[in-house]
């Protein structure tokens, strides 16, 4: 067990200081440099890095990583970013988008590993990171003090096993946590050691106190549906993309939504809209106005766009090994693939542009800056 005491004063500052003015917070800062997108990548020679890209797909800057990265947490007002090692990695790299200051590397505690995701508090003072308590096999949310060089100051339970993506809702106080249900230990790399006994869940956790506000589990027949990635819509519902760990012949719907007081609903497309995503969603993102949720399905080479209000599939598009996805102004989405492609499109309408970068494989997540 981690005996670290939580610094309550720091938590209060982190969670409450910006409450009240956070609607469309993500879009308030606006671009201040050429950087438009950030993503972890792998070069052709096997090196790993974070790429900072301009809107036209040209490379603005690169932050090297010692091993494979996963997602990047961004804080628009401070210009800070943190790239996380992917599960079950133990490093994270803090850097600045605008200045190119020397990156800060920090690591998980010796009995913790990261799951590849994290999120800043709205005021940017704290960073919440999804972690595993390795000896206990329970999910935790690590809390880091940004100003102190990402020093860990405490942790909350994630109230589940295998927390993956975590997001902070508009109230600045509630964390939504996708507990994938999968337990891993670094000694065995990425091997899931509890697939037969998975208990995935979507939890809502008070960012200050760690108190569980709501927990949504899945019925027994869906216990192997690993909830991994989340995005909030305009109504405050949290949409998730899951990955099916069960039989190939029994793949259920893998996209759904829930709220603190609304239980889980998987999308139920009519037969004509039945879209094969191979039981695997790699990333989810909301449009700029958060009326549309996009879910990428790299195994199917497909993006599914869902109208958040009705819960129906609005459109689909195809791109081999697509995984990274980010909403853009004007109802557009940007998508990235493991074959180095960045594409911009409007769901159900025209393809706007497509750029192919040589020698680059885009990793799981694409984040828009500005």
């Amino acid at each position: 067990m981690n005996s670290m005491e939580i610094d309550r004063r720091a938590l209060l500052l982190g969670t409450l200081a910006f409450v009240g003015g956070q609607a469309n917070f993500a879009w308030a800062g606006g671009p201040r440099s050429d950087v438009a997108f950030v993503s972890a990548i792998r070069h052709g020679d096997g090196r790993f890095a974070v790429l900072l890209l301009a809107a036209d797909g040209s490379i603005v800057r690169e932050v090297p990583l010692s091993a494979r990265g996963h997602d990047i947490a961004l804080h628009w007002l401070s210009g800070r970013a943190v790239a996380f090692a992917r599960r079950p990695g133990t490093f994270a790299v803090g850097f600045t988008i605008e200045t190119g200051a020397t990156p800060v590397v920090f690591t998980a505690a010796s009995d913790r590993h990261f799951y590849g995701h994290g999120v800043f508090s709205h005021d940017g003072r704290l960073l919440y990171v999804s972690e595993n308590d390795i000896p206990g096999g329970r999910g935790v949310i690590g809390i880091y003090d940004v100003a102190k060089g990402y020093k860990k100051i405490g942790e909350h339970p994630s109230h589940g096993v295998g927390p993956h993506e975590i997001i902070l809702l508009d109230d600045g106080k509630t964390l939504a946590v996708a507990n994938g249900g999968l337990d891993t230990v670094p000694d065995f790399e990425r091997i899931d050691i509890n697939r037969d006994a998975m208990q995935p869940s979507l939890t809502f956790v008070d960012a200050e106190s760690g108190v569980l506000l709501a927990k949504h589990t899945l019925p027994a027949e869906l216990k192997q549906l690993s909830i991994r990635h989340v995005a909030a819509d305009a109504a405050g519902l949290v949409w998730f993309g899951a990955q099916w760990e069960g039989a190939q012949t029994e793949i259920p719907q893998v996209i759904g939504s829930a709220g603190t007081s609304r239980r889980v609903r998987l999308i139920e497309p009519p037969a004509a809209q039945c879209v094969d995503v191979k039981g695997y969603i790699g990333s989810v993102a909301a449009s700029a106005d958060r009326s549309i949720i996009a879910a990428s399905a790299p195994k199917a080479g497909r993006v599914v766009y869902i109208d958040a209000a009705s819960g129906t599939i609005k459109a689909t598009s195809e791109l081999k090994d697509v995984c990274g996805i980010a909403g853009e102004p004007g109802g557009q989405f940007a998508e990235s693939s493991g074959f180095g492609v960045i594409r911009h499109e409007v769901p159900g309408a025209e393809l706007i542009s497509e750029t192919q970068l040589s020698d680059v494989a885009f990793d799981n997540h694409l984040r828009r800056w500005g």
Partner: protein
Amino acid sequence: MMKKRLMPLAAVAMLAISAIAAGSTQAVAKDAQSHYALVQTTLEQHILPHFAALRTAAAQLPEDVASTCRTGDDGAREKLTTAFRNTVLAWAGVSFVRFGPMSVDSRRERLSFWPDPRGIVNRQLRQVLASSDMAVADSITKQSAAVQGLPALEVLIEDRDVPLGPAPQSVFRCKLAEAIAVNISHIAEEIDTDWTKPGGWKDKMLRPGSDNEIYKEPRDAASELVKTLLTGFQLIADSEIKPQVEKKRGFDGPYAKANLSKAYYAAGITSLDKLYQVMGLENFLDEDKDWVKNWVGGAWRTLRESDGAGGAAAGVPKQYAPSLRKVFDMLTGIRKLVVGEMSQAAGLAVGFNELDGD
């Protein structure tokens, strides 16, 4: 060149319809024939024989457990030890073939709950033994996967303090061991049957088409096998070799109580070697890629000289034993060349995220 085989007419017709231009029709059909041949060869020469071997080996377990429990004599015990060894090594040969019938009902975990860094098998088995609850043995398929399969049976077979036999203190253990043995045999039988029965997974892979829920074209089935090969490299490197190199938390090798870890490693690498060879991915490489074949050939020679545990393989002088680090590097090196060179040359490029996302 890869030996070509005839595809089912339905698959050829489907491909002809789906191709747009005449030129692309020829290219797609040629690829499809190659992919179909790859699938057929791999199923016939690796996948199906290996699952049949597991079924055969596991089928011996119930009788040998019963015999040991009935007589307790050394001959019966030795026979059971041999049957257990054969089953574990047959399992090692298919442990990385995780798609299709293996993905059903947590069969993989129920057969072999390993790796088990949290010691769940021992903990749960102790609880079951302490309870002496016959209902547990009668409903073994409904119990935790940790007490259903080979690791649990290993604990019971290898327990020298309370050995399996006719003694009164072994009655419940024997009941449990017999139930586990029958369960292992049933699961192995189910997997093999699901592969080979009419309309089973073999047929799914060999009869791609629009009405096939899993494989729409030969490429899909061939890609599944490429992913399996890559999974094999990754699993053996990461879960079997690397933990031996970086001993951090008291690592227990697979089936260490039965002294089968080394044989398990060797059986896994041998099966992977066979899978690589029968898939023939090198045959898709252009002539200017001979360096790939040469490097991979050398890497396999190194792997064959290893016992998978830092020593030399049988018949190989000690001084030629490759280090575990070298074994790890060879496995990951071949994997990288399959991803970066061979799968692309074969028209079976597997995406970065598709293969190993999170």
